[in-house]
């Protein structure tokens, strides 16, 4: 499997600065494995960058575009699709933006912005992902309005092209080594502001992000599996999030689900795992009519039911070298006040993205009080 961005020499060479700072943060007890945690980026202080504050007014379509004063930002699409062959297909496409420093962006080849993109395609034949990097400022990657004032998000030839200044209606095409897709994306529902009007708190220590979603995307299109076109249709979910320090020092990673339930509603739950075992949990439920309920720690539980051992491909980041990982791929999610008590399972356990930021991201099936499908994301394992 190709990893476009496995820049081995770069990782080796780009020095030990991360080590140094991390050892200071984590103290003498830090284990080496933790010292190499690529997610440390998300815990680094966003000093000098713009900070996430409650009470911000969201303005569209402007907020669909980059917020360069913030350190990190993403456009995150997942989709559960059914093929003309009656089988399940999963699509995951993400564009990450990162600012290398808080100084004003000189642009061009000296741009302070770096882009990273992931494409992962889950088919009955298996799971394939691809990772790419590009610098900002040179037109190779970015999110911007075209001259016709339409929305465009791209990395090389991976392209999300909209007919309007918002992401929808749009067309997305991307590829991995042996597979590619071309999807038409439609969404008419309002944008869902997560947390408190888009202010999504991640920790009691103040870490937070701006976070909004579009849970109801209607998708049709084609997935080519080894050059064989298969017509697909289904539902997608777009998350937009930006921050300057989304993770707290005592948080190892997060577990996140976005589920389309059989009654037409959508449920999103995440928990940030604390070293202490007291996790920070939050979420939202959007009814079929678009009514949003924010879920607090008292409203929702997310409990792992078992551990599945998978062999991960060696990661570009080098800190998990084809090792066997025990992952919680089976969950029970309960929202008693909404009568939701479901089990979330996957039949695609090998959905590990051995990228520079390795994580598990794959399609899941919902059983229990509700039926449905969605995506599960596990980071920091």
């Amino acid at each position: 499997m190709r990893r476009d961005g496995s820049r081995r020499f770069l990782f080796t060479s780009l020095g030990n600065s991360l080590f140094t700072s991390l050892f200071i943060v984590a103290g003498a007890t830090a284990e080496l494995a933790q010292a190499q945690d690529p997610y440390q980026l998300l815990r680094e202080s966003g000093e000098g960058f713009a900070q996430v504050q409650p009470g911000r007014a969201f303005i569209f379509p402007q907020d669909h575009y980059p917020h360069e004063r913030f350190k990190i930002e993403w456009w995150y699409l997942t989709a559960n699709l059914t093929g003309s062959d009656g089988r399940d297909y999963g699509i995951h496409w993400t564009l990450f933006r990162q600012a290398m420093n808080a100084a004003s962006n000189p642009g061009g080849w000296q741009s302070s912005q770096t882009w990273m993109a992931h494409t992962a395609i889950s088919t009955p034949l298996g799971f394939e992902f691809s990772q790419r990097f590009a610098r900002g400022g040179i037109g190779q990657a970015g999110v911007a309005a075209t001259q016709q004032n339409t929305f465009e998000a791209w990395m090389d030839d991976w392209l999300w092209q909209s007919d309007s200044s918002a992401p929808f209606p749009g067309v997305l095409s991307a590829s991995t080594d042996n597979q590619r897709f071309n999807l038409t994306l439609q969404a008419t529902d309002d944008w869902v502001l997560q947390g408190k009007n888009g202010f999504s708190q991640k920790s009691d220590l103040g870490q937070a992000s701006y976070y909004y979603s579009q849970p109801f995307i209607d998708i049709t299109g084609t997935v080519w599996v080894a050059n064989e076109p298969i017509e697909v249709a289904g539902k997608g979910w777009l998350d937009r999030e930006w921050s300057s320090q989304p993770l707290a020092d005592n948080q190892a990673g997060w577990d996140w689900v976005s589920l389309h339930l059989s009654d037409g509603s959508a449920l999103m739950v995440y928990q940030l795992r604390h070293d202490s075992g007291e996790h920070y949990i939050s979420g939202s439920w959007v009814s079929g009519s678009g009514e949003v309920t924010t879920l607090e720690a008292d409203d929702v539980t997310m409990t792992p039911q078992s551990e599945t051992r998978i062999t991960t491909e060696s990661s570009a980041a080098g800190n998990d070298e084809g090792e066997i990982k025990a992952l919680p791929l089976e969950w029970r999610v309960r929202v008693p006040k909404l009568g939701i008590d479901v089990s979330v399972t996957t039949n695609r356990p090998n959905s590990w993205l051995a990228t520079a930021f390795p994580y598990w991201e794959g399609p899941v099936t919902v059983e229990g009080s509700h039926q449905g499908a969605g995506y599960l994301e596990l980071t920091g394992y």
Partner: protein, 824 residues
């Protein structure tokens, strides 16, 4: 049997304990021989490993190269277009070769690390990724970083954080001492930094890894009108190009080994001779011949192991010291980027061991046979009046070899055959030496009948020569090679200087597109200004550059033409005749077999045209073909060709005004260069290129000196009883040294006298055969007396030193012998 072997071994080895100097010489010979050979082999292997990676850039495959159809550089916007079209294997490269403020050569390579499609699979020991690393930020954000490999930093004398200043005053980003895969001796920086530093929006070329056939088709469909895709593995084959240099180096390495073997031969011969008595006693005590042979074979194996091991160890610092010179040669002559760090290769140890064993067996077989069969007669006694049959035969062989070389000279047509010719000359010298020395000695004896001391001295030559024969042969080999290579380098240097001075007769060279005709015409300081225009095509599998040359330009005139006949230049200048004329570089003559009067069909923009070759011109160091057309005609035939820079001739004493004028015309300091600077830079490149030859010359000479010293010690030890007798008969030390010293003086003189013509012959062969076969150009052979005199002076000094050292040892030994004889 085993016990017998062990006892024999212990007894024979005891000799070395009593004669540590002999042990040392066996060892020195083996170590030097193996060491030099291994060092050279290691250098060759490392350079070849670099060629194998020639289609790799900084760890990424660069099998394909994309260039602009109309420009020497590619617009960076075209790169982005390619990426957006899905050609994600494509990445941009800027390569520059520049001079630093203090005249050092610097190669710069820049790319966008984020775009590099890496071929190296596997994981990293240090987890970090560009997305969020401060290292990435330092590299890509002002003031940027220049990654200097440690060996390059050492060469340039750069420390971490220091900024290298270029000749034009530009400062490179602060240095970070580190390197990437295949960075070799290049300084790496981010593409953004390079674009900003060189104030350009174009890159040298785009490289690409693994494009499939359908991707290539798609490329041609979408971009074929403006960009050209070429396969690098079909481009100039570096290993083929540089083969002759490597053969050359290997030959020098083998030569060192041969000289080393001479030392071993001497030492082993002597040690066996000295142990004759021991061996005879052992034999009388019942040791069977097999036991003695086995013991000596074991001894040889131990020597070979020691020699190969220490030799391989010696080769490490040696090749590390020599490699930068080789890397410079490769880069300067062939443009091949080679790492200046040699790579250790364990296989070479076995090669060295095999060589050492082969050399030892060679040195052992004859003496051993003699020692064990015990012919009782000293192997070295010689009839003092006549040449032996063997000497005459050897002389005859020498003459035959020279004749063979003479006869086969015209037919030799490959590099290997060329080197075989060289070998013939070298061996002829060796074969001729004994007969010459002994003849001169015989003549001296007969010619100086009335002078007893002179007769004695001449007679002593006959006595000493058998012992010194091998050392003298080693010295002869070394001297021939030295003179040959020194003359080659000297001729090359002079030819290059001449050529540069003619070719670079303009005072100032300005980059294309910066100034134009009209502007220059109005400048007071301009005496003349000419622009060259070129186009490239392929001929006989090589690139051929067609150059439009101003017929009035002072740097190309009738004097530059070889074999052109008197009317060639006017006919060429007039142009446009029924059969148009061109001048071709010698490479076309030697590599493509074109002769004066031949016709060449060339593609022009007006269709295919036929041109008659009117003559040739020297084009030193060019690996490609070149044709010169008058510029007026060239413009008609190739209206879209690319203009090269301007050559400007400055009026007398107006150099300063010229420099001022250029800056007033807006010509930046990077856009022009003065002739003086180009000349200095070229000669610096040249001298660095041949540093390797000088180093190897010196090393072989040192090995030869050791050989002579060892032989002198041996000869004196053999003849100690005789010398003691002379002394006891009342001979004074002065007379004694005159008689014992004369032979070495005479032999050295004869060796030098023989080495001179053979050395010149060798350089003739190198220039007119090897060079033509490998590069396709010749130059006049110039024998410069000065370096040869110096060489002879050094040899005389070395031999004298060896004589003095050996004599002092001898004097003490003779005195001791006499004292013990007197029962003191």
């Amino acid at each position: 049997m085993t016990r017998a072997v062990l006892v024999t071994l212990a007894t024979t080895l005891a000799f070395y304990r009593q004669n540590p100097l002999q042990a040392l010489f066996v060892l020195i010979g083996l170590v030097l021989g193996c060491g030099l050979y291994t060092a050279v082999a290691q250098i060759n292997a490392s350079a070849k490993a670099s060629y194998a990676e020639a289609d790799q850039i900084l760890g990424a495959s660069a099998q394909w190269r994309i260039t602009d159809r109309l420009s020497t550089e590619v617009a960076i916007d075209d790169y982005i277009r390619l990426r957006r079209a899905g050609f994600t294997q494509v990445y941009p490269i800027i390569e520059r070769r520049l001079a630093s403020a203090d005249g050092a050569l610097i190669s710069i390579i820049a790319t966008d690390l984020l775009a590099l499609p890496l071929t190296t699979a596997g994981t990293d020991s240090e987890g970090e990724n560009p997305f969020g690393s401060s290292g990435w930020s330092r590299l890509t954000q002002s003031p940027f970083e220049a990654w200097v490999p440690s060996q390059t930093a050492e060469r340039l004398g750069v420390v971490e954080g220091e900024q290298i200043r270029l000749r034009d005053g530009t400062l490179l980003p602060p240095a970070a001492i580190r390197s990437q895969a295949q960075q070799r001796d290049q300084i790496f920086m981010d593409l953004g930094a390079a674009l900003s530093l060189f104030e350009t929006d174009r890159v040298s070329y785009l490289a690409a890894s693994g494009l499939t056939a359908s991707e290539r088709t798609s490329f041609v469909d979408q971009f074929g009108d403006r960009l050209v895709l070429s396969n690098q593995s079909e481009a100039l084959d570096l290993s083929q190009l540089t083969q002759s240099l490597h053969t050359n180096l290997t030959a020098l390495g083998l030569l060192s080994f041969v000289v080393g073997t001479f030392i071993v031969f001497n030492a082993v011969n002597f040690s066996l001779h000295a142990r004759r008595e021991t061996l005879r006693v052992l034999s009388d005590l019942g040791a069977v011949r097999e036991a003695i042979v086995t013991a000596i074979a074991i001894e040889s194996l131990v020597w070979a192991l020691l020699g190969a091991l220490l030799g391989t160890l010696l080769a490490q610092p040696l090749s590390a010291a020599l490699m930068p010179a080789v890397a410079a040669t490769m880069q300067n002559i062939y443009g091949a980027s080679v790492s200046s760090l040699p790579v250790f290769n364990a296989g070479l140890f076995w090669e060295a061991l095999l060589l050492a064993l082969a050399g030892l067996s060679l040195a052992l077989v004859l003496p051993l046979l003699r020692a064990t069969s015990e012919s009782s007669k000293s192997p070295t006694t010689q009839d003092d009046t006549l040449l032996t049959r063997r000497d005459i035969a050897s002389g005859a062989i020498g003459v035959a070899l020279l004749l063979l070389a003479y006869v086969s000279y015209p037919v030799a047509s490959t590099v290997v055959q060329g080197f075989a010719l060289l070998a013939l000359v070298l061996f002829a010298g060796i074969a001729l030496l004994p007969v010459i020395v002994l003849l001169v000695a015989a003549l001296g004896k007969t010619g100086l009948k009335q002078h007893w001391l002179a007769r004695w001295a001449f007679a002593d030559v006959t006595f000493q020569f058998p012992h010194l024969r091998l050392a003298m042969m080693a010295l002869l080999l070394t001297l021939i090679a030295n003179i040959g290579v020194t003359s080659l380098v000297g001729s090359f240097r002079l030819a290059l200087t001449d050529w540069l001075e003619t070719r670079l007769s303009a005072d100032i060279y300005v980059t294309a597109g910066v100034v134009d005709d009209e502007t220059l015409a109005t400048e007071d300081w301009v005496r003349a200004a000419h622009q060259r225009v070129t186009t490239e095509m392929t001929f006989s599998g090589r690139t051929m550059t067609v150059v439009g040359v101003d017929v009035e330009a002072p740097d190309f005139g009738p004097a530059n033409i070889i074999d052109g006949g008197p009317d060639a230049f006017p006919r060429w200048s007039a142009g446009g005749a029924e059969t148009e004329g061109v001048f071709a570089n010698e490479q076309l003559r030697y590599l493509a077999g074109i002769e004066v009067g031949d016709s060449l069909a060339l593609m022009t923009e007006l269709g295919t045209r036929s041109f008659e070759v009117l003559g040739f011109f020297h084009d030193y160091g060019n690996v490609n073909f070149a044709l010169h057309l008058p510029s007026k005609r060239f413009e008609q035939l190739y209206p879209n060709a690319k203009p090269q820079g301007w050559g400007i001739w400055v009026k007398n004493d107006q150099q300063q005004a010229a420099e001022l004028g250029l800056s007033e015309l807006g010509v930046g300091p990077t856009q022009w260069v003065s002739q003086r600077e180009v000349l200095t830079l070229s000669m610096t490149i040249f001298d660095r290129t041949f540093a390797i030859t000088r180093a190897l010359n010196t090393l072989t000479l040192m090995v030869a000196a050791v050989a002579i010293f060892a032989s002198l010690l041996a000869v004196y030890q053999f003849r100690r009883p005789e010398y003691a007798l002379w002394r006891s008969l009342g001979m004074g030390w002065l007379t004694f040294f005159a008689i014992s010293g004369f032979p070495i003086v005479l032999m050295t003189t004869l060796v030098m006298a023989l080495a001179l013509p053979l050395g010149v012959a060798l350089s003739w062969l190198l220039i007119h055969k090897i060079n033509v076969i490998s590069f396709g150009w010749t130059m006049p052979v110039i024998v410069d007396a000065q370096p040869i005199t110096f060489l002879f002076f050094v040899v005389a000094a070395v031999v004298l030193a060896a004589f003095v050292l050996a004599s002092l040892n001898q004097r003490a030994a003779v005195n001791n012998a006499l004292k013990s004889l007197a029962g003191e």
